[in-house]
Symmetry: C2
Subunit: 142 residues, 2 copies
DNA sequence: CCCTTATTGCAAATCATTTGCAAGTGAAAT
DNA sequence: ATTTCACTTGCAAATGATTTGCAATAAGGG
């Protein structure tokens, strides 16, 4: 949990209090491979005695200080992830819902290209890959 | 609206009825650059006399026949897009919310790489780019 | 134009998110 | 260790999205 401790230290520098609920939210984000919805965290923290409203408020605060990034996918419902990078991606099977890791993030070149084409700075991405896994492809064979 | 007519024809082949509501949903998806949430369509169709429940039910049906793809970003709240490809991507400024087109989709190589690494078939993607636009970067200069 | 039945609208149920407010608690100062 | 005070939290109510049952509607074939 080196990452978790680092993040905790960074947050302590920027916010006046470090509370139980705040730690829980940060732990969720550290543990997750994918960006999470607030609701996903409610589920993860079912036994942790953290009110839903508190999760939402902490996410907003953590976004304000730049430790967490929010991606609004549409009017209602955003996803949250640590601003700190170093992540990998995965792909989910549309048939059996299994999830397989793809490996380290390979979007750096794509982001550089976007920066060139558009002049945008601080380019970030959220990607979601789906497909059909080898097991689901040939239900009759083997 | 060549795309719209093509899609309409394809759906007619696979479903017994082509209704006002169904056309509206398909038109939304054809017109949008980005994947849409059901709720986004409710907004777009505010004047079209289509019940919200009907939008949800049509989306489910269209997914079943494979004309629409659903991407579940988390427990609640999915995004929908035409299965038909040929799309472009855009990037949204986190400061002013402006959106700039990036150009044709450049994810083909990435998808090929994923297919190699994981053995998955029919790989699809949903991407979301954010950054800071040139105007928002230097609020003081020029 | 009539029939059949897929599809819709409406209303109610369910569940996620937001907000106000009083109570609780982290951490700095004593 | 105790005190103190602003920051945070929990709770409850409000808001808004999504789902579901059911009777009414309408698309398309005959
Ligand atoms: Mn990445
Ligand atoms: Mn693309
Ligand atoms: Zn599978
Ligand atoms: Zn901007």
């Amino acid at each position: 949990m080196a990452i978790y401790d680092d993040i905790l230290a960074k947050v302590r520098e920027q916010l006046p209090r470090m509370t139980h609920a705040r730690k829980c939210v940060l732990r969720c984000l550290c543990e997750s491979e994918q960006p999470l919805a607030a609701n996903d965290m409610q589920v993860m923290l079912a036994d942790a005695d953290v009110d839903a409203a508190t999760i939402y408020r902490n996410l907003e605060t953590l976004c304000q200080i730049g430790v967490v990034h929010k991606v609004e996918m549409s009017a209602r419902g955003a996803l949250f992830a640590l601003a700190d990078n170093d992540h990998s991606h995965s792909i989910k099977c549309t048939e059996c819902n299994c999830r397989v890791d793809i490996g380290d993030c390979f979007m750096a070149e794509v982001e550089a290209l976007i920066q060139q084409r558009t002049g945008f700075d601080s380019v970030r991405h959220l990607v979601n890959f789906t497909g059909v896994c080898p097991q689901c492809r040939q239900p009759q064979q083997q």
